[in-house]
């Protein structure tokens, strides 16, 4: 990605001083320098003879050496510069023979002698000015890094001065301590003796260089880079503060070593720092500490980006490290103190008034997403106990129902909300509420996936120009799903760790005491984890979370391209439950819990059917520690799994249809809907500060007979030209008003009821003190609301066969409403005080519909315009048949009944006609109704009117 590209370019900075490195790396050039060192200034010809090279080659070598300021040209002669002399002189002394020897200094014979005795084990580094050995300190038997300076490079006085300055560095600085320093006399095999300075330092054992570390760790988190800045930058800042510089911060001088303090975490060390420059001369052009630091960080960032293709560098490095890197690239820092200050600078929070917050009006929180806090989520939750008990039970559950029935609310209260737990400790009412729904995260720990946010949308086979996923892609997508569940779980736990009780400052979830199992679990499945040292106990856990999150995001970015997918073990169903087992082992508060994965709105549109199948595969797997709870809309979720099996909703999972709450057909599970809905509204009214309850405010509805009698009076006909208008009798009024009618019109949808009540309140200008609203006022508001709702249908999103879906669905609803009105006005039931009340369609057969009609039906049900009442016993005694009710909210728009008493019976063909050509359907039925009305007037003895209607209906099919 572009971020990697941009990081690569500045890497060229590492090549600064290239000329010097090239010159010293070239053996011919070194030979040439050696010749001048031994013989003194030479001409080109002499050099060419000595090196047995052509003059052209010599000219080119000399040009390189002059460029690197190793050789100077004067009066036809080439001589060594001070820099050149030193480079050659140091190269002539070797201390490699010391390996295996004991280094002892005699204080009597030598001023400032080294105090301890060291047995030299290995040569671990050769620098421009020193040899570094691994040595064992006699007496303590501890390993030390023993640095012996090449004679003539660093005097003891200079070393002493540096050590005094170095002693001012205090605190936890990532630089090994100096254990011993002094002079030693070294006798060389060639007989020469050298008195030279020597330093013994704390040895960083069990370590890797930073580069090796990055290469070896398969999972990196921002903490690696943060710790790099803290430790390495911190050490360099401390060094800088006492007036020194490291001067030789090359790759091998930054180590990452395991710390013994906490569960195998690792930390950075800056080694080879004494206080005197490690370069041979001050003239030498070497990168500054700042440049070296920048280059290391850049290189690390490039490695990380390549490890996680498609993942943002900013997220990968962490905000503060990314900022520092930007600063380094722009040369914004003059010192490491400035750099660290910028690193620790906290981000400004979003200003208070940055977003215009919606008014705190509980009646407008029509969707759970609008509810502004988790606390309100519980305070406003009024479940149907029998349904909630089923949903809250451990086990896989699908939860469907019409839009606005509250299924998301049922699901979301099962999620772990640490703030609510803290609040409940102070708030008795909330505490009671939690108790009433048996909320206990130690028993049931809910992890919520809100699927609306485009998180699952891109996973569609169209991307691969296919209709289904191939088997490799399925496996990879399952891997992604499992990573997502892991990460969401870890994030939810993190919230529990970060949320503290006010008084005790104790977190809701106790931090893990030992994360070994968790790290081991991840390493077994994802490869080695770079876990860095951190003073806070939960840090290890957070690093695992960050590494997994990076892994997930990178996998998401590359999934359509098989070639870019990271090879390695893909996660499967077994890893999911195993993960929860490990989480239970890690967190003391969760040892007894079972995990509920709450997938809110997994309907098609948010998750593709093919992706739903993968989710179903996870659901279907055997699991002891977790279960899935999924909300979806009817017809918008498949019950198939990725391997082609079908899930049986009766045996393998629990299926709850909240729409059944309002269906009388489900008598054995029926609830007192009026009571239930009043409770829902009253809780909102209380929250909004209203004094009266909804039933008192809306009052009693008109008697049903009175209402229907008024409603069934045909509309007044305009008199024909020349005809005198008949004198008007006062027309009875039918009021869509009063609690009974209002809640019925909501047709089981809490959202519709809330909207409707809110609309009535707004139209009647009700205040918190209002204790009653006149029926007439309510009626006007309800009719207006219903009309608006009906008109809005034409703007519904979506298309069928390239045509906007809205007008087509509106046409069907209009046809049903129109027919209902016609029946109410014109059909004689033959019984006084009884009308033909129908907003319900009952099919006379179960034959499949053509695809086009089925699509329209699905959309009608999806948008809750027709309520699928399931398979019910036919009133026409035809056995079990499907029934669909028009949403009652449209009843006022058509001035028809809000009750389901009678049905419109339709065969397949008539039903198809209704769905595809609603106008034709209406005219056919109107004609038939005219005929029935005529026959009614001349009725045949013994034939009941209702039977007549039905008989006629079936006869015409």
């Amino acid at each position: 990605m572009s971020s990697t590209t941009t990081l690569r370019a500045p890497n060229q900075l590492v090549l600064k001083g290239k000329a010097l490195h090239e010159a010293l790396a070239n053996p011919r050039c070194l030979f040439l320098l050696d010749s001048i060192f031994k013989r003194g200034p030479l001409t080109v010809k002499q050099i060419a003879e000595a090196a047995a090279l052509s003059q052209r080659d010599v000219d080119s070598l000399l040009a390189v050496a002059v460029d690197a300021e190793l050789i100077a040209y004067s009066s036809g002669l080439y001589s060594l510069t001070v820099l050149g002399e030193k480079r050659i002189a140091f190269g002539s002394t070797s201390f490699e023979f010391l390996v295996g020897a004991k280094l002892v200094a005699d204080p009597a014979a030598l001023a400032n002698a080294l105090r301890n005795e060291y047995k030299i084990k290995n040569l671990i580094g050769i620098g421009a000015t020193s040899y570094t050995f691994l040595a064992e300190q006699s007496g303590t038997h501890r390993d030390r890094a023993l640095k012996i300076f090449i004679p003539g490079t660093v005097t003891y006085e200079r070393l002493d001065e540096a050590l005094r300055k170095r002693a001012q560095i205090t605190g936890d600085v990532a630089v090994p301590e100096i254990v011993d320093a002094g002079q030693v006399m070294i006798r060389c095999p060639d007989g020469r003796s050298h008195i030279t300075a020597c330093v013994a330092l704390e040895y960083v054992s069990n370590s890797q260089t930073f580069a090796e570390f990055l290469k070896s760790q398969e999972n990196l988190s921002p903490r690696v880079f943060q710790r790099f800045v803290e430790r390495v930058g911190g050490a360099l800042a401390a060094i800088e503060l006492v007036g020194l510089s490291h001067g030789d911060l090359h790759e091998r001088n930054i180590l990452v070593a395991k710390r013994a303090s906490y569960g195998g975490t690792q930390d950075f060390w800056v080694i080879d720092f004494i206080g005197v420059p490690s370069t041979s001369s001050p003239e030498m052009d070497v990168p500054s500490d700042m440049e070296n630091f920048r280059n290391h960080l850049l290189r690390a960032a490039v490695v990380a980006c390549e490890r996680y293709p498609g993942y943002s560098v900013r997220l990968l490095l962490g905000e503060n490290v990314f900022r520092v890197l930007e600063g380094l690239r722009n040369e914004a820092y003059r010192s490491f103190s400035e750099l660290l200050e910028d690193f620790h600078r906290s981000r400004l929070p979003i200003p208070q008034d940055y977003f215009r917050a919606p008014l705190p009006e509980p009646f407008e929180w029509l969707r759970v997403e609008f509810i502004p806090s988790a606390e309100w989520l519980y305070r406003l939750f009024e479940p149907v106990p029998s349904r909630f008990e089923t949903i809250a039970r451990f086990g896989n559950t699908w939860l469907s129902g019409p839009r606005g029935c509250g299924k998301s609310h049922y699901l979301r209260v099962l999620a772990f909300h640490p703030q609510v737990i803290v609040e409940a400790a102070k708030n008795q009412e909330l505490n009671q509420k939690l108790k009433s729904i048996n909320y206990d995260f130690k028993r049931a720990f809910g992890i919520l996936f809100a699927c609306r946010l485009g998180e699952f949308k891109p996973f569609a086979p169209d991307v691969m120009r296919r209709t289904t996923f191939d088997s490799e892609t399925k496996a990879f997508l399952k891997h992604i799903l499992i990573l997502k569940i892991w990460n969401k779980t870890l994030q939810t736990i993190k919230e529990g760790l970060e949320c503290c009780e006010d008084e005790t400052n104790r977190s809701v979830l106790a931090p893990p005491t030992n994360s070994t199992h968790l790290i081991q679990f991840f390493e077994d499945r994802l490869g080695s984890m770079a876990v860095m040292e951190d003073p806070t106990a939960e840090s290890v856990f957070l690093q695992c979370l960050a590494a997994c999150s990076a892994r997930e995001n990178s996998a998401v970015a590359v999934w359509p391209d098989a070639a870019r997918r990271k090879s390695g073990r893909l996660l499967d169903e077994a890893d999911l439950d195993q993960f929860f087992r490990v989480v239970k082992q890690t967190f003391p508060d969760l040892t007894e819990t079972r995990f509920y994965i709450l997938v809110d709105d997994a309907s098609y549109g948010h998750i593709h059917f093919e992706m739903q199948k993968l989710l179903n595969s996870l659901v279907r797997a055997v699991q002891a520690n977790h279960c899935f709870k999924i909300t979806c809309e009817k017809y918008m979720y498949t019950l198939d799994t990725a391997d082609g099996r079908a899930i049986d909703p009766r045996h393998e999972v629990t299926y709850v249809d909240l729409g059944e709450v309002s269906t009388k057909a489900q008598r054995e599970t029926a609830v007192d809907l009026s009571e239930y809905m009043a409770r829902v509204i009253d809780s909102r009214l209380r929250a909004a500060g209203y004094k009266s309850e909804i039933r008192a405010i809306l009052g009693r509805s008109q008697d049903a007979r009175e209402f229907l009698a008024a409603l069934s009076v045909p509309g007044s006909r305009r008199p024909k030209k020349g005809e005198r208008a008949a004198p008007k009798a006062p027309r009875p009024r039918a009021y869509y008003a009063g609690w009974n009618i209002v809640w019925s019109l909501a047709h089981g949808s809490i959202r519709t009821l809330l909207e409707l009540v809110e609309y009535i309140f707004r139209k009647s200008k009700a205040s918190q003190e209002t204790d009653g609203i006149a029926l007439k006022v309510q009626d006007s508001a309800v009719r207006s609301y219903s009309n608006l709702h009906y008109k809005a249908l034409s703007m519904l999103p979506g298309a069928i066969d390239g045509e906007p879906i809205g007008p087509r669905l509106q046409g069907v609803i209009s046809a049903i409403g129109e027919m209902s009105r016609q029946y109410l006005e014109r059909y004689e039931t033959g019984e006084k005080g009884r009308w033909y009340e129908t907003i319900s369609l009952e099919r006379l057969d179960r034959r499949r519909l053509p695809q086009g009609a089925q699509n329209i039906l699905d959309e009608l049900v999806k948008y809750g315009l027709l309520l699928d009442e399931g398979i019910t016993f036919s009133r026409a005694q035809f056995g079990l048949l499907p029934r669909y009710d028009m949403n009652k909210i449209f009843a006022p728009a058509f001035q028809t009944t809000y009750r389901v008493r009678n049905h419109i019976y339709v065969t397949r063909n008539r039903f198809v006609e209704l769905l595809s050509k609603p106008d034709k359907f209406v005219s056919r039925h109107r004609r038939k109704l005219d005929e029935l009305a005529d026959r009614r007037r001349t009725k045949v003895k013994g034939q009941p009117p209702q039977g007549l209607l039905f008989e006629e209906n079936s006869a015409t099919e």
């Binding site: 997220l315 979003i350 407008e364 998401v556 703007m795 999103p797 390239g802 906007p804």
Partner: protein, 339 residues
Amino acid sequence: MLQNERAPAEWDFSIRSAPGLAVCAGGFERRSVAFASRLRKGRFWTERSLILRYENPPATENEANFLRVKRRMHLLCRSEPESITVSDDRSVQSSQEIQSRIGELAKRISSRTAIIDISGMTHLFAVSCLHACLVSGLRTTIAYSEAKSYFPSKAMWRKVVRAWRTREYEGSRRFLQSAGLKAVHIPPEFAGNFRPGHQTCLIVLAGHEPNRVEGLVDDYAPGALIVLYGVSPHPHLRWRTQLSKELHSDLFSQWPVREGEVSTLGVGEILEALTEEFRTIRDQYDVAIASQCSKMQAVASYLFWRRHPEVQLIFTSPVCFNPKRYSRGVGRTFQYDVS
């Protein structure tokens, strides 16, 4: 690195230009053929050309303009112009096909430059073309022809606002440029990065199709919204910003929302505005951008995504366009060098 942040300059058709690849589309608007028509044979030639051919409605207008563009490119292209059939009904799939085709063509051209005329392209297809060219290493120039005027016209201002506010949907449908939202598209390459535990803030670059935005916001359900209303570079069209605000005024009452204005043409200015918002909210929110206004805003959103790949780009398609009430005539053609 994408460095060019200048505002688009007017295209100088008198200057010679010879890109390796030219990509155009025969859209339903008249301006979709303007760029190809204005190019002169002696001053412009290209090694390869690719024309997007829409198979979705409005089919008559799309097809007629496709043929016009094809005829022009036949004169200007050294090889036979190639075409690719795309459809708004399968946007993501078409986007992938466009990218793959441009990738193939890019391998066969010697001049590593491309010109994309986005005037007849949907936002998603314009961004897909641009992305494909940049990924293929082509130095890319965007050509954009503005329309003479856009709907709704000033005369309809009050009517359309009244119709929309009073939910007179029939009226709204008559006045608005398209008929509501059909689908939301999030191609995987622009899917961004989600951090667990972070809410998403949706930045909407709003135009004059509140029906489309309403569907999008309802479907996406973000944690917060930033709505940036487009400001035309033409003083005589500035009133449209106010119209846009009035059309959207009731849509966001349920969300934490922030409103502002941004140019419809100046890519630099759009990038600045996005950067400013992003800087403030990025810690707390994951960010998604839905460009619903001008095509140059879609280009700017894409360039912003290049800098911040953690951002998600969202595209929408309407149920259908109202070709007779979308735009009228052709204005100037602009050019914008992306790399």
